[in-house]
């Protein structure tokens, strides 16, 4: 994968190859050094001899910043989401995290009814500079530990949503999210974390991207064309960017040049870039791990069906998980998660048809 990944996170001079876990940890570390108000709050994130969070992202940070800034919580997702929100109102910049994205449902009221709406309810007097990190994606853990949840939060006005596909974006977007004065839901894909630490996953993608030393920020709302192409636009995020890149490679062998569009942030979404790409290619396929019905891909399709209808030379199709919970058995999970083959097949059905 690393060559594909090179194309994604444009290597910079003085950069080093990092996994997403390392890139995220570096972003947290840099921001905490830069700004005292940045604190971390979550389960098992700072315990001595512990995990550094469910996926080792915060490993070592308690040692450097102490337990006043790396706060281990009880298992109380709604509670610490609300406490992070309150602390943000009070002037801190909390970065909270749930161990698996699926647990965001426990904090849904605090995130959707409170964090997202407080600024509005106050007539613009309040700011909620908090980040909620959430690992998503199916990894043979079954129905309650494998969902993709972007669509739920993309649909909550007041929240911003990021979903990086590689270490370079992960670091740059997380640093931006932490400095942002609005609440951000920051999605990370478990299979992209990389194998450093004890948590290597079967089916994991070795994404070691080149990440520049030190300071850089990536603005929200700027998508990235990770592969230019003239025949069709493939819109994807997180793990699906990599599968789309693989599909694009295969497709080009049969003369189809796909443009791969990495959304990077769902809220705000880079609509102008999408419309430009679709107007150019005339064809659109959206690739998401989320369940088909009501996934974020539906919004992308809907916008294109409004703005680009005159340019479309074929149906807009989505490659997504079927409308079922995440199954445990690998044979079923592999059928559930969109595969490179399904992407190729769907693209051909659009280009052909």
């Amino acid at each position: 994968m690393s060559t594909l990944n090179e194309m994604i996170s444009k290597p910079e001079v003085g950069g080093r190859k990092l996994s997403i876990v390392e890139a995220l940890r570096e972003a947290l570390c840099e921001e905490m050094r830069r700004d005292d108000r940045v604190i971390l709050i979550g389960e098992d994130i700072g315990v001595k001899g512990g995990f550094g969070g469910a996926f080792t992202v915060t490993l070592g940070l308690a040692e450097e910043f102490g337990h006043d800034r790396v706060i281990d919580t009880p298992i109380s997702e709604a509670g610490f989401a609300g406490i992070a929100t309150g602390a943000a109102l009070g002037g801190l910049r909390p970065v909270a995290d749930v161990q698996y994205g699926d647990f965001l449902f426990l904090a849904m009221d605090q995130l959707a009814n409170h964090a997202a709406k407080l600024r509005y309810m106050s007539g613009g007097k309040l700011r909620v500079p908090m980040v909620m990190r959430a690992p998503i994606g199916a990894t043979t853990r079954g129905a309650q530990h494998g969902q993709s949840l972007e669509a739920f939060f993309m649909h909550v006005p007041g929240l911003k949503v990021a979903c990086p596909s590689n270490p370079y974006d992960a670091k740059g977007l997380l640093k931006t999210a932490i400095r942002m004065d609005d609440p951000v839901i920051f999605f990370e894909h478990k299979l992209l974390y990389g194998s450093k630490g004890s948590r290597k996953e079967v089916g994991g993608v070795e994404v070691f991207g080149t990440v520049p030393e030190g300071e850089y920020l990536i603005p929200f709302g700027q998508a990235k064309i990770v592969r230019p192409g003239k025949d069709i636009t493939l819109v994807a995020n997180l793990l699906m960017v990599h599968k789309s890149m693989q599909a694009a490679k295969i497709l080009s062998e049969s003369g189809i040049e796909a443009e791969v569009f990495d959304v990077r942030t769902l809220v705000p979404f880079d609509w102008p870039a999408l419309f430009e790409s679709v107007s150019k290619t005339g064809r659109l396929v959206i690739v998401e791990e989320d369940n088909l019905t009501g996934g974020w891909g539906a919004e992308v399709a809907a916008r294109a069906a409004d703005e680009c209808i005159g340019f479309l030379q074929g149906p807009i199709r989505r490659v997504a998980a079927p409308d079922t919970p995440v199954p445990f058995a690998p044979v079923m999970e592999n059928f559930y998660v969109p595969s490179v083959e399904r992407i190729v097949k769907t693209v051909k059905s659009v280009v052909g048809g």
Binding site: I39, D68, I71, T73, P74, S76, A78, G79, F80, A81, G82, I83, A84, T85, G86, A87, A88, L89, G90, G91, L92, P94, D109, Q110, N113, H114, L118, R119, Y120, M121, S122, G123, G124, K125, L126, R127, P157, G158, K160, M180, D181, D182
Partner: protein, 326 residues
């Protein structure tokens, strides 16, 4: 150490508290009649009868302390000292309202006056207060957060989670339950086996205390005590104020689920009459002063209504702003 108010109330402060209680009550009465005249949209949840809670607690807070409230926030906002004209304007859905017309009755408040917009999700404000207290502690500020909620909120999971975290981290926050016996139409005894809400403090290893919520001085003392404890690093307290709402749950509620005798009994213990009586007895108040207070409050409310009516409505498109900072 942090600034701590005197436990003994000066006459001056007592008179101010008396006027504020009147202001709370008369504000609610004025709002009620304006609402019945159809001059206010939405619904309202009023707090007549709970003035001692609002005023007693707020009197014990410092300027930069933080208050959170509920779907029944009018008196909390008045007691916290937000000028009534901005509250009235909010109820009139005007641009000059404390929330610019975006909040309304259930979200009254003003962060610049030390009160978050009220939270209309029962229990929803509890972790916000705890989190705000975390920021006070982290930033080494001498302040506390005080969180109002009702008896009904004590059965929400968030009550459990937030109080537990405030307890283990010794956060400077007061959890103040206005126990008015009912959550909407539901009698507390039917949804809780324990006799008091404050007993639940034991589950978190923090102090719990139940006091007469219609005795404004008791409420003040209890809040001050718990507040001083919190300010000096002693952690949170669960303070239960036994009180009663004279009106229905919301404007549309005639309150038939409450025995007439019960309502009558509580009206006998009207917190304003009680405090007035005490002040009359001690010679601090007299009929003339009482009359003057009523008149000055009337004038303040007249001006508030005039201000609200004269204020512009927001523009329709303004509904699009204040969603994000950037």
């Amino acid at each position: 150490g942090p600034f701590m108010k005197e436990a003994v109330l000066t006459n001056e402060r007592k008179l101010a508290m008396y006027r504020r209680m009147r202001l709370c009550r008369m504000f609610e009465e004025r709002v009620n009649s304006l609402f019945l005249q159809g001059r206010m949209p939405g619904t309202i949840h009023q707090a007549q009868g709970q003035e001692a809670c609002a005023v007693g607690v707020c009197e014990a807070l410092n300027e930069n302390d933080l208050l959170t409230s509920t779907h029944r926030p009018h008196e909390h906002a008045v007691a916290r000292g937000i000028p009534v004209k901005y509250l009235m304007a909010e109820l009139f859905a005007k641009k000059t309202g404390c929330c610019g017309g975006k909040g309304g009755s259930m979200h009254m408040g003003d962060p610049e006056m030390g009160m978050l917009p009220a939270i209309a999700i029962v229990g929803g404000g509890i972790p916000l207060a705890a989190g705000y207290a975390l920021s006070f502690k982290y930033l080494k500020k001498p302040n506390i957060a005080a969180c109002f909620f009702g008896d009904g909120a004590a059965n929400e999971g968030i009550f459990h989670e937030a109080i537990n975290m405030a307890a283990i981290w010794d956060l400077p926050v007061l959890f103040i339950c206005e126990n008015n016996k009912y959550g909407a139409s539901t009698l507390i005894d039917t949804v809780m086996k324990v006799k008091t809400v404050s007993e639940r403090a034991t589950a978190y290893g923090i102090p719990g205390k139940t006091v007469d919520g219609n005795d404004v001085e008791r409420v003040y003392q209890a809040t001050l005590e718990a507040g001083n404890r919190a300010r000096s690093g002693g952690g949170p307290t669960l303070l239960e104020l036994e009180t009663y709402r004279f009106a229905g749950h919301s404007r549309s509620d005639p309150g038939h689920y409450r025995p007439k005798e019960e309502v009558a009994e509580w009206k006998q213990r009207d917190p304003i009459t009680l405090f007035e009586g005490a002040c009359l007895a001690s010679g601090l108040l007299n009929e003339k002063l009482i009359e003057e207070t009523r008149t000055s409050v009337e004038i303040e409310l007249d001006e508030a209504v005039a201000f609200a009516e004269a204020s512009p409505s927001p523009l329709p498109e303004e509904c699009l702003s204040d969603v994000y900072v950037e």
